[in-house]
Symmetry: C2
Subunit: 205 residues, 2 copies
């Protein structure tokens, strides 16, 4: 049967994902078809279906790749000897970039984001879990080097992720996602950075 998501790193898969990512970035998830992707790489539709069950599976893999890159970037900063506050600021900045990338690849409206939720809820949930894990490392680091007080690491990490998520949710509820402009992202970035600063001072020793 059809191979499913995470089908490894065969050259073909890499080529398909790269082509699909370009398509998604131009036309979004809804307007991209399996046909488009197959044509872009001169592959028959049948061959494409051998590798991926549908465009949603391809999209999930593209997004997972972006998520992995985000996580790797933060992990890299974690090994540097920077303060918890700096880490939180880096975190929210990179998180905003990933948010923009996701919106750019999906080009979903606020309504259709609700519509696709069933398909992607696992993807989102896993990523939130990874985010909390990253935050826990940042907070633990900060406690160990005496910068942060001995807070409940899990509770505080989940709260931070929820606050950053909440600022995005406000935007998703208030505005059509396809209409977000530069100013919206600037406001969001300022909010993100302020939260990172106030939050790290708020748990300082």
């Amino acid at each position: 049967m059809v191979e499913n998501s995470n089908s490894g790193n065969s050259d073909k898969t890499v080529i398909i994902l790269a082509a699909a990512q370009k398509r998604f970035a131009h036309y979004g998830l809804l307007k991209t078809t399996m046909n488009d992707i197959a044509e872009d790489i001169g592959m028959s539709k049948a061959s494409l279906y051998y590798y991926f069950a549908d465009k949603e599976t391809i999209f999930q893999d593209v997004i997972r790749k972006e998520q992995r890159e985000f996580v790797n970037q933060i992990e890299k900063f974690l090994s540097d000897k920077v303060s918890g506050e700096e880490l939180l600021i880096t975190y929210v900045k990179k998180r905003l970039s990933y948010f923009q990338t996701f919106l750019n690849l999906s080009k979903l409206s606020s309504d259709s984001i609700k519509g696709i939720k069933p398909i992607f809820s696992q993807l989102f949930e896993n990523f939130k879990h990874e985010e909390v894990t990253l935050l826990k490392k940042i907070i633990k680091n900060g406690i160990e080097n005496g910068e942060f007080e001995k807070v409940n690491v899990t509770e505080i990490s989940e709260l931070f992720i929820s606050l950053i998520q909440g600022l995005r949710s406000n935007l998703i509820i208030r505005k059509e996602l396809e209409n977000l402009d530069k100013k919206d992202y600037q406001i969001l970035e300022k909010q993100f950075i302020n939260v990172a600063k106030i939050f790290s001072k708020g748990i300082k020793k």
Copy 2:
């Protein structure tokens, strides 16, 4: 012509609003009709329409009354000599109560909340403005009595309101509002109080 919203405090208006509030609390906005409200107070439908153009206008007035009560409660605490941190904690607790009251009166689903947005956006926007005004008073108080550092009062007040709103938005996006249970409110309350604590420490002198 039909009198519109804010039509003063005539006895009749008070009676209508009280009856409507009970109806809304039992059946929600969508399932309540002008007929129901008229019948509840033994008034002809024609008379009811003399006072209010439609049930949405009545609902707006009921909500405005609740919003006013919330603002008055906070204003009262402001005149007490309590710390900024205590004020923020009181603020988020009362804000949660109002959120519950609003959901109870509207009984709207997450989808229908988007649907009614055009009607109520002014109501919500004005209330957010009032919230920011209240927060500015709390922060200013704290700066004056030496508890908080000299922050940008407007920016910080707007951020706090956005964070609290964001935690509600997460819930609205994730879950059907009519299915919120006691546990959801408990989690939200804990998040609210933690934000109030961390935030006030985060802007402490």
